[in-house]
Every structure is written in C-alpha cells, then in structure tokens.
Symmetry: C2
Subunit: 326 residues, 2 copies
Amino acid sequence: MNNQIKVAIVGYGNLGRGVELSVLKNPDMSLVAVFSRRDPKSVTTINTPVYSLDNILEFKEKIDVLILCGGSKDDLPIQGPKYAEHFNVVDSYDNHAEIPAYFASVDKSCQKNKTIGMISIGWDPGMFSINRIYGEALLPDGDTYTFWGKGLSQGHSDAIRRVEGVKNGVQYTIPSTEAIDKVRSGSRPSLTTKQKHTRECFIVLKDGADSKKIENEIKTMPNYFEPYDTTVNFISQDEFDKNHNTMPHGGFVIRSGKSSDGVNQVIEYALKLDSNPEFTASVLVAYARATFRMSKKGEFGAKTVFDVAPVLLSPKSSQDLIKELL
Amino acid sequence: MNNQIKVAIVGYGNLGRGVELSVLKNPDMSLVAVFSRRDPKSVTTINTPVYSLDNILEFKEKIDVLILCGGSKDDLPIQGPKYAEHFNVVDSYDNHAEIPAYFASVDKSCQKNKTIGMISIGWDPGMFSINRIYGEALLPDGDTYTFWGKGLSQGHSDAIRRVEGVKNGVQYTIPSTEAIDKVRSGSRPSLTTKQKHTRECFIVLKDGADSKKIENEIKTMPNYFEPYDTTVNFISQDEFDKNHNTMPHGGFVIRSGKSSDGVNQVIEYALKLDSNPEFTASVLVAYARATFRMSKKGEFGAKTVFDVAPVLLSPKSSQDLIKELL
C-alpha cells in the first residue's frame, strides 16, 4: 500500500528481528528492507529483503524512517550521526551517562537535511523515563524509585561466563520485594541500587570444575556481585537449555509523593516482559510512526520520548482516540 | 515573581482547594485569584484572594490559565465554552460519553480568540487514558483492562444515603484481586465491569431503623448494587467519623499483549491515592503549565492529554530532563 509508512532496519540481531515482528503487527507500516554489514545472503529474515549496508544511500527516497538496531557501545555512536544526515532515524541508545553527548552529535547531523533523530527509545531509557517525568511533574513533593527485573542482565551474564571453569551461565537481576513494599507504602525510604536488587546466577560447569571455588569467585567479584546479595545455582546443560533460553525483563517506576501534609499519593508503572528485545522493538516501531508524522509536520532535530505527544504514537485518528480511549 | 505562570481557580470545593494546595508545591506558578458564585466573604481559602465570578472578565490580562473546578454535570457544560472564549482554560470534565460533544463546544469557543481549552484532565479521564493509548500503540495485538478502586464512589454513596433509615453512608468500589491476577498472568480473559469489581458499604443507621430491610434494599438496588457482589457493614457514627472521612481512590490500567507467538508482554499502571480530589488537582496544575507553554507557542483550540508532550509538563529544561530523567 502506498500510504503505509515505509520503514527499514539497520542491523539484524535480536532487536532487528523484534522490529520485523512488530511491523507485522502494525498494518499502517511496511518494512521495505533490512541492511546488514554481513553478506546479505547469510542473513535470514522472516520475509524482508536484505541488502548490504554499503548500498543504503540508494534507498534514500524509498524509506520514511530508518530504525537503527545496533548496540550502544560500538554501533550507534557511529551509525546514529552518520545515517541521521540522510534519513529520519530511531534508535535505542541506552548508555545513560553519554546520552547528552550522543543527543548533540545526532542533532548536529539532523540539522543538515532537516531530518529527525529520535534517540534512546525503548523502556529504559524510554517508557520508564516518561513515567519518571510524569511522576515528578504531578507530584513535585516526592521521590522516584526505579527497580529493574526480574530480568536477564547481559553484562553480568558475560562476567560470569568469563570465570574459569564456567561452561555456560546467566544472571538475573531481581528487585527486592521488601524494598518495593516499603516504597509502595508511601514511606519514601532512602534506598541504594544495591538495597533494591538481588542477583541470581545459573551456571553450567565445565567437566571437573570446582563449584565452591567458582561460587566464591563470583560472589566476591568487585562491582558486579560483591556489593549484592548473590545466589549461585549450578545446573545441567539440559536444564539450562530448557529454562534459560529466553530474555525476560521488566521492572517498576514508582513515584511516591505528598499533595499536602499527610496525604500520600503513589503512582506505579510496571513492566513484565517475556522478551526484552521484542518489547524494545515494539516501542521503536511506535516511535517510528511518531517520527514520520513529526517529520511530515516540518519538525527536525534530535528528539527523545519527552518530545512526543501520545497522540502521535497511535494509528487511530484524534477523534477515535477521544471516543474510545479518553 | 513576574515570570511565574499566573493561575486562577473557578469554583472552590474539594477540587479547587486541591488546586490551591498544588500550586503551593510548584514554585514556577502563582495563584492570583479564586472566583466563586458564592459571596466572596463566605469563602475561606488558604491564602488566595476571593472574587465574585461576575467580575472575572476584569482579570483577563492578569491570568495566564484559568482552572475550572466545577462539576461535569451542571457547571462545566456552561463554564467551559463560556470562559474558553476569553481565557486559556483547564478542566476535569469526566462524563465519558459526552466528551466528544463537550470537546466540540469548547473548541468552538477557543477558535474565537485563539485560546486553549485543555479538557478532561485528571486521572480517568487523564493519566489512565494516556496509559490506554501507550498500551495500545506499543502492543497492538493485546487487550486493555481498567480497574477502579479501592475508592470511594460518590454516586453510589449518594444512592445508599437515599435509602430510608440510613443516617450516613459511604460506598467503596474494590477491584477483584482474582480478576487482576488473571489479567496480570497474560491470559487475556474477557471480563465485565461487574466481574472486575465488588462493592462495600459502610452505613450508620437512624434510630430504630431495620438493618435487615436496609441491607436487602441496597443489595437488590438495580444497576447500582444488584449486579455486583455487595457487602453491607453497619457501624456507629463515631467509627464513621473516624475512618470514613477521606476520599481515597485509585485503580489500574493493564495492557496485556503479544509481540509474537507465545511471547507475552504486560504493562501495568497503578494509582493508590489518599485523596482523589487532591491528585486530580495536581494533574490539573501540571497541565496548566503545559497549556501556558503551548499557548505561548501559538497553539490554540480544544486539547486533551493525548496532545501534550511529556516535556511540557515539567518545570525543568529539556537539557536537565535528558540528563536527570531519561
């Protein structure tokens, strides 16, 4: 259909595949291409044609929004500014400390050809950030608490896999029920990230590995595990393959505040995700719709979730939204 | 301070008083006047001057945004269109079925002098509506569930107070834990409003009243109580005064959807409010800030929460928001 929003993906890993799945659920959008640095013949998508990333500029007129699905460490710092010069782009840049610098670098590229660079889209940063801003704006006399999990942490899983004798391993971050209950009560406790979370590891040992030694090495690992209440479980490869092959995640943003003396108001936003990359992809796709519309209205420059009015995310008309959802 | 946003209130009941309290928590705003239909001398505010509503047009140049705190049944259908002709207005119009007509009527007034009419602000409609739109946009293959309570229902409390022999009474709407758990599980059940809620009444009897007869009359009241699992408790006036003199409310908006086959994603937004009118007032005040800013940018016409980008609600700069909350 000619009036569909034409989307393309750069980078086809878990996130790129999630974007392909999500576009299939949105009939007002179509996915015209996947671009990869790999040999296109070696990339198997669901049903989207794959092209070499080297040829992407040939598609300038065929794409409304480009969704960048690379990583925040190595890919996006280069790809964001590079492609924002020629396309409206949406990405999930999530290196919190570096976001202001990344925003500036994408914004500079966007100014050249009046494109939009919608950065740091997903759930944190993203939906969680929106809930932090709403919470603070509605209850200025209050505190905001972010909890992560239960969810698989890629960085911590990598760290345990580097321990000698570990064949396979995953790490789940688990929010502390006790801490959540305290926050929900409206008592506004002071809590460190460490007090809010525990860590649980599932490990498959190499033949002949010393489990006691490995458990000790993990639990005393500085920064990663030492400051936390950490549990280490040893399991078989079979159990690992059966129960630890998905990427669940989620968490909570809670704002607890007073509207007047002794009057507590608590706002809670929670996500329970079977698949972290598929949910992040769903958010990217909704914001690709908003990006297209903002671009059509003549807006340009780097943007974040904070700049996007909710109406722009829905395929429905304002009138229908007022009737059905307000 | 001259650069504060100058706000005024029309109507000083629970909601108007909540707005006065909320403005005190927002240093970038000041409350310049309360307008009342009553004799100004008979209205006692915290520290805001009170004027007769008849003189409101004399304040045209002194007010940036007027917050209408009247009721949806009799006050707003007249006041909304009337004052939107001369002022930027914000209101909490909450008669869901009539919102499209009300929107049109306010919009027509706004076009005359290019004002903004920010309608149906609060938590439902309002924050709940925003979460319904985000949920649907992020997970198009899904279902949305709204639960209300635990909270005091004004309409049902009025209904029990009309029963002969009842001296005093309140009714709380309670969301069914069983129904919420089903929805949270991702099973996407079909649930009616009745299956999602139970009703609990607390009643003080008049001398000599027949409790059995009253309990039966309440439980069999068509529409109000008959379709629901209803509990009736009889208590003393002392207990009533001690435990049932506040207006708590809250509820949940849950979106349960699939991003692909067998992959469930659940989004939950929950409010636990000690005071329904004070929270509604806090939302009105944050949207008064957004209204002022949108008006400064030259926007006009009727608007809803759907049209307001999150950045407009916060007193902080975009740069600070990106650094602190993204």
